[in-house]
């Protein structure tokens, strides 16, 4: 069962590699994502009934927390794959990319999903590290897909910074191993999370502390925690929009998941305050830094990237404050963010398709020109700003509750103040885009700009038979519209009602984090 989660994307990737038919690899990708989503739900069901898929110590393994992450990853990958077909098809038809890059995209897309799925499924922390490093390598190629100056620059920075970061994470992993070997009397240590957790109280605290610092800085770089977040706005703004959605929605969470797993051990070994302080430090600096940068940000995608930093900060804060509510809030926020942020990237992508820009001051009147996108976008903004009745409100409210119960007033005050700035930044930029009279040269009702295709950056391969017909027929924008509506509905639902199974899954996962 678990293995199929790995094998299906792999197979899809092979199809992309081998079969050069746009229709085939597009459908293969969507089908693969549908299949793994189904499997993920089954795994989650098993986790709910107390079962653990796979075995601890085995190659892959899934407890409730893993199942939760897998569900988040697969469902979002499904949504993104549907959106990709429309979006990347548009990019292809407008000559922003060539046919080779188009196929290459789907190949990497499947590999990207694969590596990300591997992260929560690995019991062995070194394997998890490899998976996370794998995500960097694959996604760096995706970030640089356009081969433009700026996208190459972004990809370069991304790969260098994340590799440096992840080097520290591996060092931290080694040190945990060392600690475990010390705990087991100088013999072989353990790298399995389950084993480490079991011996956590016996680990040398000083060693664990050193290791955890390295882990937080290392995976924190990848998770976009300030002040080591700098790759994030560049990569998010330059990647193809569906990839930005994946980066923001899942990749950051995968990296944070790495921190989570180690933090559980560190907490069992060092006690609560150290982990809390570390999380507070990175969390609050992320929230503050992001809110300041969002004040004057004029590029919609960069703005969303900074918003991701803010939300990772919120997750860190919720996790840091701890207690059942804190952990629950952190996980719920991961889910909410994995819906809300991709939704906004999708909206931005649609706007780019219509206006050919993501600069907030160059577009206006979205809500008139594309009512659905505008309406969904407004919902997304409100959700990202943590306003009820959307999902983020619930998780942020729970976090505030936990903060209040712990008496962390300074943190709460700073968070609330930053929240105001974030709200201002989001609403100013997107509000300016959505409202007013439509500015686009394209007439209302036409979803794509009418300008002639830009000359391709890279010459087409000789004799390449390019299938430029859209794979999904019918009304353009329909599939992505449905996806976006569903996501908005999910945000609304999570704000008012958390389904029982989901609630239990999160509670179980929070229990795992709580030890």
């Amino acid at each position: 069962m678990l293995l199929s989660l790995i094998l299906i994307p792999l197979a899809a990737a092979l199809i992309c590699l081998l079969i050069d038919s746009r229709r085939v690899y597009e459908y293969a990708t969507v089908l693969s994502c549908t299949a793994i989503s189904g499997i993920a739900l089954v795994i989650a069901g098993a986790a709910l009934s107390g079962g653990i898929a796979g075995s601890p110590g085995g190659a892959i393994y899934a407890d409730a927390l893993s199942a939760f992450m897998v569900v988040v990853i697969t469902l979002l990958s499904l949504a993104t794959s549907v959106y990709s077909i429309e979006y990347m098809g548009g990019e292809l038809e407008h000559g922003h990319i060539d046919a080779k890059a188009h196929r290459y995209y789907y190949l990497l897309y499947n590999l990207f999903i694969l590596t990300m799925l591997l992260v929560p499924l690995a019991d062995n922390l070194a394997v998890m590290w490899m998976a996370i490093e794998g995500t960097t390598l694959v996604s760096a190629l995706l970030v640089g897909l356009y081969r433009k100056r700026s996208s190459v620059e972004a990809a370069w920075k991304y790969i260098i910074l994340c590799t440096v970061g992840i080097t520290f994470a591996l060092l931290g992993t080694f040190i945990f191993y060392y600690a475990s070997s010390g705990a087991s009397g100088g013999g072989r240590g353990a790298l399995e999370w389950t084993a480490l957790l079991a011996m956590a109280p016996r680990l040398n605290p000083a060693t664990v502390r050193l290791g955890f610092i390295l882990i937080v800085v290392g995976y924190g770089t990848k998770a976009g925690l300030a002040p080591v977040h700098n790759w994030l706005p560049d990569a998010h703004s330059e990647a193809p929009t569906p990839i930005s959605a994946l980066l923001s929605g899942i990749l950051l969470n995968c990296a944070f998941y790495g921190i989570l797993r180690f933090a559980v051990i560190a907490r069992a070994s060092l006690g609560y305050p150290f982990v809390r302080d570390m999380m507070f430090l990175f969390g609050i600096s992320s929230v503050v830094a992001a809110s300041i940068f969002m004040l004057i940000q004029r590029n919609a995608k960069r703005l969303l990237a900074y918003s991701s930093i803010e939300h990772m900060g919120i997750i860190a804060l919720s996790f840091g404050v701890g207690g059942p509510f804190g952990f629950y809030a952190a996980l719920l926020h991961i889910l909410n963010h994995a819906i809300g942020k991709p939704l906004m990237f999708f909206v931005t992508g649609r706007i780019k398709g219509r206006y050919d820009t993501v600069e907030t001051e160059q577009a206006a009147g979205v809500i008139k020109a594309m009512p659905l996108v505008g309406a969904v976008g407004f919902i997304g903004i409100m959700a990202l700003a943590g306003a009820p009745p959307f999902g983020m409100f619930v998780s942020e409210f729970l976090m505030l509750k936990a903060l209040a119960a712990g008496g962390h007033w300074v943190i709460m005050g700073v968070f609330l103040a930053a929240g105001g700035m974030v709200f201002y930044g989001l609403l100013r930029s997107f509000g300016g885009m959505f409202l007013g009279a439509p500015t686009s040269p394209a007439p209302v009702g036409q979803s794509m700009p009418a300008h002639p295709p830009a000359p391709p950056r890279i010459p087409l391969p000789v004799g390449a038979d390019v299938d430029r017909r859209p794979a999904v027929r019918g009304f353009r924008g329909l599939s992505s519209g449905i996806v976006m509506l569903l996501m908005a509905a999910a945000l609304l639902m999570l704000g008012l009602y958390i389904p029982g199974p989901l609630d239990r899954l999160i509670t179980l996962s929070a229990g795992i984090i709580g030890g």
């Binding site: 920075k157 910074l161 440096v164 970061g165 520290f168 502390r209 050193l210 610092i213 390295l214 800085v217 002040p227 080591v228 700098n230 560049d234 150290f274 570390m278 300041i292 940068f293 004040l295 004057i296 629950y328 719920l332 809500i367 009512p371 309406a375 407004f378 306003a387 009820p388 009745p389 409100f393 409210f397 729970l398 505030l400 509750k401 903060l403 209040a404 119960a405 008496g407 709460m412 005050g413 609330l416 103040a417 929240g419 105001g420 709200f423 201002y424 609403l427 509000g431 300016g432 409202l435 007013g436 009279a437 209302v444 009702g445 704000g495 008012l496 009602y497 958390i498 609630d503 509670t507």
Partner: protein
């Protein structure tokens, strides 16, 4: 039992929303880009009528709750972590009654109003959400329910404000509004979190029980809540959004925003400081509220006086009236502190009464202004004029509203201000010098506002409706549709009824379980008196009779005296200036009044100093500083990879040194 109540109460409040939802989407699907506006109009009418009906039932039920002292409580456990609970009766029922009356009238008004404007389906939907969420705010019985409803209310009203996409100003006004209200909500949230910290509960009733012992925390909660709710209520200097957002919104929405939504701020202040914190205020709480009220009332109406935009004028007048309400609340707190329960009840009753009254006449005025703006296509009063001949009923209703808001007898505004005056004067009579001084200042502020309000509204009504048309559009204006007139007519009638039967209102108010209100003296329906520390009374219905009798007398007198007189209609005399009519165009004459006359020039100078006070000395420097910080911070993300690597190294080294 609660289940029964759930069936009875909640559906009507939310079904307006659902009704809107379904119909709105129906409209969307069968509407191509250029649909027949007739169908759209019919459907939107149906939506608004549904909303009106939806407002009727909860209003009647809340009235019954209030009169019979019923209360109900419903818990909706939405998930393991989020339970929303709602309750009715008491204070919330009182506000629900207000909302229902205004919601009903505004919805009826909207039927006609929306037919002529380009109402899109989202704005219909949002209207329903807005009304429903206001109900939910008043019904909320725990923190999550309150926050959810509160933000839903704020956001839906934000979208309604920006729904006029043709107007570039509306987006900016909306942004300011949304950000201010969000910051306000942050304060409210903080207040609630302190409550949670102190009591470990999210339910208002449990918090109330748990907070009785908390000393200093109570003050913290109070300050946070006053700031947060004050932002919504429009207390100066937190009012900056109000004069921008209200004019930008469609008039039916402005009527609701000004009539009810800003009252939700008042509701919040009452809920926290008198209900949850148990009505044992410290002295300075009352002083703070009283001062805020005094400043808001005087500054608000002074700003209003200088406005030319009719809706901005009304918006500033709302600031004034909120100030008057706060005077009552603040006085009540001070009396409570001084252990004078009957006076506390009196002042509180005055405030609550004014809440009701202001909702009625400000709703009426915004609707009237909406009709005028609609008919002329401008919000500038100086481009209107002479409308009363073209829209006589609207003119009459606006006049009623103006007279009422100026607290002139026999309309309702007078009754509540009279009560406020009574409580303040009695406050001056009490023994504590400090209390006396503050009551005196408050009384002086209230006295100042009276004439200023009259002046503002003579201008508002006179310039808009009287005289001669000063623009082409004003000349071509026509009377509003029947539903709009009906909406305004009901409120006009209420202005009169609430004015001449104050006793009923006070009986209603005395049923609210807030400190002091129970000890209000029993009032007879038509009369109005204060006994105890003070004693005085008015008989508004007799006063009305006297006014009518006087008019009848002077009407009959010349006829009794006999003789036949002829009435001629001709051009106005105007000191002979009609001889120079070619030179003095009517438009020019009016401009003289505002620009050339030395007195007014002087006033403009004087007031322009206070106009941007809060903005110039607080908001702008603050925003500028923030932007400076942001621009400075931008340099930290310089695009230089080495710098970013440096951050990683630096972070690591610092952590190693500190913790390693």
């Amino acid at each position: 039992m609660t289940g029964a109540f759930l069936r009875i109460k909640l559906p009507p409040t939310f079904f307006s929303f659902y009704g809107n939802l379904s119909i709105a989407f129906e409209m969307e699907t069968d509407r191509p880009e250029t649909a027949s506006s007739k169908t759209t109009g019919k459907l939107s009418s149906a939506c608004y009528l549904l909303c009106a009906a939806g407002c009727l039932f909860p209003g009647l039920l809340a009235l019954r709750d209030l009169l019979l002292g019923y209360s109900w409580h419903v818990s909706l456990p939405l998930s393991g972590v989020l339970t929303l609970s709602f309750r009715g009766g008491g204070l919330s029922a009182y506000f629900v009654v207000i909302l229902s009356i205004l919601g009903f009238c505004v919805s009826v008004y909207s039927v006609g109003y929306a037919r002529h404007s380009s109402a899109s389906w989202p704005s219909l939907l949002l209207y329903g959400i807005f009304v429903s969420s206001m109900y939910a705010v008043f019904y909320s019985a725990n923190i999550p329910a309150f926050l959810v409803s509160w933000e839903t209310m704020s956001l839906s009203s934000y979208f309604l404000v920006v729904s006029d996409t043709k107007n570039p100003e509306s987006a900016r006004a909306g942004l300011l509004y949304a950000v201010m209200t969000h910051i306000g909500t942050a304060f409210i949230m903080a207040a609630f979190m302190v409550m949670y910290f102190a009591t470990g509960s999210l339910e208002f009733t449990a918090i109330k029980a748990g907070l009785s012992g908390a000393g200093g925390l109570r003050s913290v909660i109070f300050v946070l809540a006053l700031t947060g709710f004050g932002t919504k209520a429009g207390i100066i200097p937190l009012h900056t959004w109000l004069p921008r957002a209200h004019p930008a919104a469609p008039s039916n929405v402005s009527a609701l925003m000004s009539g009810v939504m800003i009252k939700s701020g008042i509701y919040g202040i009452l809920l926290v400081s008198l209900d949850i914190l148990g009505g044992q205020p410290t002295l300075w709480w009352g002083v703070a509220v009283l001062s805020a009220g005094a400043v808001s009332s005087v500054m608000g109406i002074m700003h209003a006086l200088m406005e030319r935009d009719i809706k901005r004028l009304l918006a500033y007048s709302s600031v004034e009236n909120v100030g008057i309400i706060l005077l009552g609340i603040g006085a009540s707190m001070i009396f409570s502190f001084n252990n004078l329960p009957s006076l506390a009840g009196l002042a509180l009753a005055a405030a609550l009464y004014h809440v009701f009254n202001h909702a009625v006449f400000k709703g009426l005025l915004f609707m009237g202004a909406g009709s005028a703006v609609h008919a002329t296509g401008t919000k500038n009063m100086e481009e209107m004029g002479g409308l009363i001949k073209r829209m006589p009923w609207t003119g009459l209703f606006f006049l009623v509203g103006s007279v009422a808001i100026c607290a002139l007898p026999p309309f309702n505004g007078f009754m509540s201000e009279w009560l406020t005056f009574q409580s303040l004067i009695m406050g001056i009579k009490t023994s504590v010098v400090l209390t006396k001084t503050f009551m005196l200042l408050a009384g002086a502020a209230l006295a100042l506002t009276g004439a200023l309000a009259a002046s503002s509204f003579v201008k508002a009504f006179g310039i808009t409706f009287l005289g001669v048309p000063r623009s082409q559009k004003a000349e071509g204006a026509h009377e509003s549709s029947a539903s709009m007139l009906l909406g305004m007519g009901i409120l006009s009638l209420l202005c009169l009824l609430l004015g001449i039967f104050p006793g009923y209102m006070l009986r209603l108010i005395s049923n609210i379980p807030l400190p002091g209100l129970g000890s209000l003296p029993q009032f007879t329906p038509g009369a109005f008196a204060v006994t105890g520390v003070a004693s005085s009374g008015v008989l508004p219905i007799v006063l009305l009779g006297a006014l009518l009798a006087g008019a009848a007398f002077v009407f009959a007198f010349p006829r009794l005296a006999g003789g036949r007189r002829k009435t001629t209609k001709t051009d106005p005399w105007d000191c002979g200036s009609r001889i120079f009519k070619k030179i003095y165009k009517p438009r020019k004459e009016v401009r003289i009044e505002y620009i050339v006359k030395p007195f007014f020039t002087r006033e403009i100078e004087y007031r322009s100093e206070i106009t941007p006070l809060a903005e110039a000395y607080f908001y702008r420097p603050f925003v500028r500083a923030l932007h400076n910080v942001a621009h400075f911070a931008k340099r930290l993300q310089s695009g230089n990879l080495q710098l970013y690597l440096g951050y990683i190294l630096g972070t690591l080294v610092v952590l190693l040194v500190v913790w390693g």
